[in-house]
């Protein structure tokens, strides 16, 4: 079902603002705090598009998608009494920040479970498709699936995927490229798998859902390689992403072996609303009330300790709304999903920047409800995700300078990220070369029994996950000449990652101009919410 289109605005390029002498300073995220910075005249600031108007009746849209799927029979036609069905559902890593309840996954699950019951399908399990992410805590699952599904399925028929369970995983075979495909045994032995996806970025969903969400380490390491990342230009542009091609090969093998019905949902980008809505506005358009709200927030954040600031942000869910729901076969469904998502998130930009500037916020896909955004995750946000938020050509030209704002504190969550601590303090201090890490350290961390135990029965990311996070930034590291972090509270962390430090944005820009010249084109990405630059 299509969302109602927003009104056509007369100002079609409102998402690009060029700083002038009388422009307002810009707000930037700085971890769990905010900065307000005057930018040089001529700086290009890119804003996300306004949130698209949501679907008025999301439940009706979901039912419509299930009954009018893409290139597949309607879901009800696939069901028969006594069949074995597994519902796989995306984990909490998306959306960011976490959305208000009801989560769209809850809406989809309630409708699907009801439909299964109506058709006499009793043997139903719900598996959280977390791949090698951490197991979700019980209260997180409850919040995500809602009381009704929780009461009916937890804990015997609603549980986390376990990619290291030797009894719970099977091999489906290898692709023509020799990529192993492992699969959750329950899913592989089901008559039908229904995948419930929440699509937040174009690299997610589609073939990645099954191939990564329900796999083990052996099949993940086929594509999560430094080589794969470097070959992805970018991984937010699926046709040009090595990762997507590999997911496609693995996904094709899965789709040819198993019967899978995909359900994908698309959200708008209403990350902040109500008293925080000023965070998504052009600062030149601030009202007096917006200015006061910002000042009050900034004053409060400056006074609070780190943990309190973090709690405030983490406990402020986003007001995302559903703008699309599609279902059916994998590829046609995902094509429609990505098209809708791009409609919301892609902004046209004329030419790449010489100096790219952005703030790194408090959150990433891998630290939801964690105690900190650890340095490795700062790196993955900067050189992985934000660097890759482009299509056609890079938003930062090759050899350009990247400037980010974040405290880069030496803080880790020992429950969620135990292997990150060893990786950062032992591996990265020995070598920062991704290819060496892949050869020498990745398997060691992956097969460490302590980390496997923590992943399987604790709430830790898989032992090899920090290696993948480091590879995630490989293309960014290779293509940028310098990375400068503004406001780091220590010199060690940036130095370990090979970054320079600056005390202020102005100082960082002066340093960057030393490399790129006085006339260097400076671009600031004003997020969150994120946007993808269509660089022409």
């Amino acid at each position: 079902m299509r969302a109602i289109r927003p009104k056509i605005r007369s100002h079609t390029r409102e998402h690009i603002v060029t700083i002038d002498t009388d422009s307002a300073p810009r707000i930037m995220f700085y971890g769990e705090n905010l900065l307000i910075e005057d930018l040089p005249v001529g700086t290009r600031v890119i804003y996300p598009k306004r949130p698209m108007t949501p679907i008025a009746n999301p439940r009706a849209a979901i039912r419509y998608a299930l009954n009018h799927p893409e290139d597949a029979e309607p879901l009800h036609a696939m069901l028969s009494p006594g069949m074995k069905v597994t519902i796989a559902v995306d984990d909490i890593s998306m959306p960011l920040p976490i959305m208000r309840t009801p989560d769209v996954r809850q809406l989809v699950l309630e409708i699907v479970c009801e439909m299964l019951a109506d058709h006499g399908v009793d043997d139903v399990h719900i598996v959280i498709a977390l791949g090698l992410h951490r197991r979700m805590h019980d209260w997180e699952i409850k919040r995500m699936v809602g009381q009704k599904v929780w009461d009916e399925y937890w804990p015997d028929r609603l549980y986390n995927h376990d990619g290291c369970d030797p009894e719970g995983m099977i091999d489906l075979g290898k692709t023509a490229h020799g990529e192993l495909v492992e699969m959750n045994r329950r899913v592989a032995e089901s008559d039908l798998t229904i995948y419930v996806n929440l699509n937040f970025v174009p690299m997610n969903g589609g073939n990645k859902s099954m191939a990564v969400g329900l796999c083990g380490y052996e099949s993940l390491k086929a594509h999560h390689t430094p080589h794969g990342i470097v070959q992805s230009n970018s991984f937010m542009d699926p046709p040009k992403s090595y990762l997507s091609h590999s997911f496609k090969r693995q996904g094709d093998l899965i789709e040819n072996t198993l019967k899978v019905f995909h359900i994908e949902t698309v959200l708008n980008n209403r990350a902040f609303d109500g008293p925080l809505s000023f965070l998504t506005k052009n600062e030149d358009d601030f009202t007096e009330a917006d200015r006061l709200k910002f000042q009050a927030m900034k004053w409060t954040l400056d006074k609070l300790p780190f943990a309190a600031r973090r709690e405030i942000f983490m406990r402020t869910p986003a007001a995302y709304e559903m703008i699309g729901c599609y279902a059916g076969a994998c590829d046609p469904t995902h094509d429609r999903t990505v098209a809708k998502q791009n409609e919301q998130n892609c902004v046209e930009v004329d030419g790449p920047a010489d100096i790219l500037l952005f703030g790194v916020p408090y959150i990433s896909p891998y630290n939801v409800n964690s105690k900190a955004l650890n340095p490795l995750l700062v790196q993955v946000m900067a050189l992985g995700y934000f660097y890759h938020m482009y299509r056609h050509q890079p938003i930062l030209r090759d050899g350009g300078v990247l400037i980010l704002t974040h405290p880069c504190s030496d803080k880790f969550d020992p429950v969620h990220h135990p292997s990150y601590i060893e990786f950062f303090n032992r591996v990265l201090t020995e070598t920062t070369d991704s290819y060496t890490i892949e050869q020498k350290y990745q398997d060691e961390l992956a097969y460490n029994p302590s980390y496997i135990e923590m992943y399987r029965r604790g709430n830790a990311y898989h032992g090899a996950h920090p290696c993948f996070m480091w590879y995630w930034g490989q293309r960014g590291r290779e293509k940028t000449s310098r990375v400068i972090v503004v406001g780091a509270d220590n010199a060690t962390v940036p130095a370990i990652m090979g970054w320079e430090t600056a005390g202020s944005v102005a100082e960082a820009i002066a340093m960057a101009r030393g490399t790129m010249g006085r006339s260097a084109q400076i671009t600031m990405l004003h997020h969150p919410p994120y946007m993808i630059s269509d660089v022409m």
Partner: protein, 257 residues
């Protein structure tokens, strides 16, 4: 699913009391004290043990060596047969219900990776044997203190070397040499700061249900901290304010059987 590449020449050394089980050697001694043929003797021994606890505690804080000397003197005069026979009962009644829920899983994960499993305990060997059997650890891989017996009666002294503190590290080194184990590729698990030497000699030290001093040390040295107790407790601790408590979790399996 492909089998994982196996570690070769690696071992995992586990402290037992507080690491794999929730109880310690004083519980074992109290069990023996309370299992006497005469009710009066049982009651007298139990009271005596209870009264000795502050002494044991103080001795343990000062020196593990002193503690061992004072504590094991309590066994003086006990017959070997009785101690060994009651060890099975001790395991069934006291140790088994107090094994940490995830202890066996950890050992299984480690064994699956090809790592040799070794128990290094300050408890007495005959009390540890049933546990070792239960955990699938070979008798040759059980390193524990041994009581000295004369004419099948305990003298109240331990055979040397005592398995405690820095000696644990020495014993592990000797064990590694004897079995061609590479300590740099080995693991050690303990709950207590007093076992710091044990952690210091391996390449992969892991604090397991650590006391405050060890937890702090683990943070400083970037060692992983593993909690083998029930996971839901942590989940509850991390629940955000305002979310209704999850009442149905306790006592139910986190994963389907």
């Amino acid at each position: 699913m492909p089998t994982q590449p196996k570690y070769k020449n690696s071992a995992a050394f586990y402290d037992v009391d507080g690491t794999l089980i929730k109880i310690n050697i004083v519980h074992a001694f109290a069990f023996y004290a309370s299992r006497h043929a005469s009710l009066a003797t049982s009651a007298r021994n139990t009271i005596k043990t209870a009264l000795s606890i502050p002494v044991f505690w103080a001795a343990d804080k000062l020196s593990r060596k002193w503690f061992n000397e004072i504590f094991y003197r309590s066994y003086e005069g006990a017959s070997e047969d009785r101690l060994v026979v009651l060890a099975e009962e001790l395991f069934e009644d006291v140790i088994l219900p107090n094994i940490y829920p995830r202890a066996k899983d950890l050992i299984e994960e480690s064994r699956r990776a090809g790592v040799r499993q070794v128990l290094v305990s300050g408890a007495l060997d005959f009390t540890m044997r049933p546990l070792a059997r239960y955990l699938g650890v070979d008798e040759v891989d059980l390193i524990a203190n041994q009581l000295e017996f004369v004419d099948c009666y305990a003298t109240g002294k331990l055979k040397k070397p005592f398995v405690a503190g820095a000696t644990k590290a020495e014993i592990m080194r000797a064990y590694a040499k004897q079995h061609a184990i590479d300590l740099a590729e080995s693991w050690a698990y303990t709950d207590s700061f007093s076992d710091y030497p044990m952690l210091a000699v391996v390449g992969h030290p892991t604090a397991c249900n650590p006391d405050l001093r060890l937890r702090s040390l683990a943070r400083s040295y970037d060692w992983p901290v593993l909690d083998l107790d029930e996971a839901p407790d942590r989940s509850v601790a991390r629940r955000p304010q305002g979310l209704a408590p999850v009442r149905r979790i306790r006592g139910r399996p986190a994963q389907p059987e």
